[in-house]
Symmetry: C2
Subunit: 435 residues, 2 copies
């Protein structure tokens, strides 16, 4: 995209309302724009990042055998009465009356809707197991929305729901999601730590939060260095095989949030292994058995002819929140440092002297070779403005083209994550960027 024609506006001033770095940088880099309290529009730079994050989530859900659907944002209050949650949910639920005065709501989560959908179609044990997910906008009417997309009111969530015939089956589904989550966050360049968690308003017997470490994190976490040293991408799980051992390798190390922290167990760890840090929750998984299938009367016929309430779990990832979390974990004074996998654009081409024939021609050639994954700063601006904007927007690679270099067919290639710069030929620059 040519910056002279793009809608990629940056702000020089730091917006006063932004308290944390990801919020500040997302506003300054022109990724988002607040349109009402806790509600954001995603501008092209932000929207591209959000789509990259969403696509990784989708791929890993599909790989683990979950199937994508899309449930609507507006739900009927009646369904929530069936589960007994309508009155219990509290003021975070955005309640709505339509023109016929029917009680509706903007879905904060989807256990009821998905149970109702599944109830229509599932008749027998042959229809199980199934895991259905969607990636849809949710609304929670936070009393004090803040931190930009980290705690907004309208937010994008991936939520999956598993249906199994038995508790053992449900545990297998839970483990599939457990391992899929580790891969999902690792592919985004994040180190996410699974921690035993309270089940809260979703309810249930078993729950893990996935938490990434960042200085600005919302909660205190305690984790063993051994866990931090593990690599979720070291081997691809076989999701059809027994996953107890694979999950056990992760849950056998100490990891806890404030609420679940056990100082006695903690003290037993070697002191050098004890890592105490701040964390940001990016995912949460639950096994809750028949908490919804029973009151909502979802049943299937088992192989022996008996009637069974399926065992369920639900599995959430904060997709829009992740964009903020990635920035919290990857930035410096000058701006964002996108990990390659989620960068809105892979590279920026900076033309330091617009109008210089050699500069223009070389920039054009490089920009065309990179295609849709590059921005071309062809604006009539000073070099300093271009450097600052490229650092702020955080493209992983910068190709810097000045008149002296262009005459000699050389460019400067900068790696945003490390700050390294090298003078190279345009061909070498392209080869590196395309990786």
């Amino acid at each position: 995209m040519r910056l002279s024609r793009a809608f990629l506006p940056t702000l020089k001033e730091t917006p006063a309302e932004a308290q944390i770095v990801s919020h500040r940088l997302m506003l300054r880099a022109g990724m988002i724009r607040q349109t009402a309290a806790g509600i954001y529009a995603w501008l092209p730079l932000g929207w591209r990042a959000l789509q990259k994050v969403e696509q990784i989530v989708r791929e890993e859900q599909d790989r683990a055998g979950a199937q994508e659907i899309l449930m609507p944002t507006i739900q009927s209050a009646d369904l929530w009465r069936q589960s007994g949650r309508y009155d219990a949910y509290g003021p975070e639920m955005l309640r709505i009356r339509d023109r016929h005065d029917r009680e509706m709501l903007f879905g904060p989560t989807n256990e009821e809707v998905v149970t109702e959908i599944f109830r229509q179609f599932a008749k027998s044990y042959r229809d199980l197991p199934r895991n259905l997910y969607h990636i849809q906008w949710k609304f929670r009417d936070e009393v004090r929305p803040r931190f930009g997309v980290m705690r907004g009111r309208e937010f994008l969530m991936k939520d999956a729901y598993s249906f199994d015939l038995t508790k053992e089956g449900a545990e297998h589904s839970y483990r599939q999601m457990f391992l899929a989550y580790l891969r999902t966050f690792a592919r985004m360049g994040l180190k996410a730590i699974p921690m035993r968690a309270d089940t809260g308003p979703i309810g249930g017997d078993l729950s893990h939060e996935f938490i990434i470490l960042a200085e600005t994190g919302e909660s205190q976490v305690f984790v063993s260095q051994d866990l931090l040293d593990m690599d979720p991408l070291a081997e691809a799980p076989d999701y059809d095989a027994d996953l107890a051992a694979a999950v056990g390798r992760w849950t056998s190390h100490y990891a806890a949030t404030d609420e679940m922290h056990d100082p006695v167990a903690w003290e037993k760890l070697e002191a050098s292994k004890r890592v105490s840090a701040r964390g940001i929750e990016v995912g949460h998984i639950f096994y809750f058995g028949t908490k919804y299938s029973k009151p909502m009367e979802l049943t299937v016929q088992a192989a022996d002819g008996s009637t069974v309430h399926p065992e369920m779990g639900s599995y959430g990832i904060g997709v829009s929140r992740l964009v903020g979390a990635i920035i919290e974990a990857n930035h410096d004074e000058a701006g964002i440092k996108w990990p390659d996998a989620v960068a809105p654009f892979r590279a920026a081409v900076l033309n330091l002297k617009n109008g210089d024939a050699a500069c223009d021609a070389l920039c054009d050639t490089i920009y065309r070779a990179l295609g849709d994954e590059a921005v071309y700063d062809d604006r009539a601006d000073r070099a300093g403005v271009k450097f600052a904007d490229a650092d702020l927007m955080g493209h992983p690679w910068q190709v810097i083209v000045g008149p002296r270099g262009a005459a000699a067919n050389r460019v400067e290639l900068k790696r945003r994550m490390t700050g390294e710069r090298h003078e190279v030929s345009p061909e070498d620059a392209l080869a590196k960027i395309k990786g």
Copy 2:
């Protein structure tokens, strides 16, 4: 996807509430499920079709130079007071009060929000022209929602908004969208006819509807056969060039809806060229000048230092409605006949004798070769059930594998659109399907 594990449920009975064929087929084929009046969940088959349609819309918007953003669903009533539309909009607007008793609404369209966003960033003529679009769920509280996704309450729309310095610029933006729309619908296998239209509640001076012909269409249309014979994909437009002549080739032929019909002009057409038919609106474009930029005080500085209200237009495509419209235009007694470009799956592999070693092996090989774009009917069901479901779901190709054929390494390849069947080698079947 293996049907034995997939969530691709079909219904044998025709649901009583569905009055038109696309609604009936979408329910029977398990594409959608109504979760409240006029509100639908998209199940895997429907969701895949919706994504294919959405992706074609996106590609043609991008090609025409529009830039994608994402605006939120929930908007502030204050913005609509600035444009003067809040009180005017009527009961189709879903009005909401949040926990702080602030007046909000579920966006039925986005002229106000996008004008407000653009206002923050656009300062000078150098920031124009720009065309911003998004593909987002909208809500219109229809008094009597019906016809499934054709007239639902929560629906997916692509809406683009152009900002230009001059009326001539705005006309160019309008023509870009005009031609992009023709390509968009043609790529989906639809013949969409541009027709002069009333501007309605959006307002403005110039407007076209894009209407496809289908027996079950909601309105009567009158169109010259010459227009129907034109092919929008015959040549790719150069969107930077003057587009007046290219658009003129389309607008010079007679085409009108009921409301705009001119019987005198119609009678002047050769009788053999007069086509009178039913039509479904799938897109609508508007040029409305400063209708929003003036009351909302969006201004930029022109090159001569003067202050200018940008000239605007807006451009809508009913993305979820298109899925229904495509089915209205492509079906038979047995079910859906997907055009290749929007088919949820490209092919189905039908195993007529599960458990037969040769059948199983051959089906497996073919299914693996087709990958994610195929469904494999490996269910323990009769051949008749498999044939019926494949026809109902409408996959463009069916690969039918029976024990006799499998033993001889032959399969039957059926083309759903034409009904043609041929006995071929598995290799030839794959080559045809991959096209």
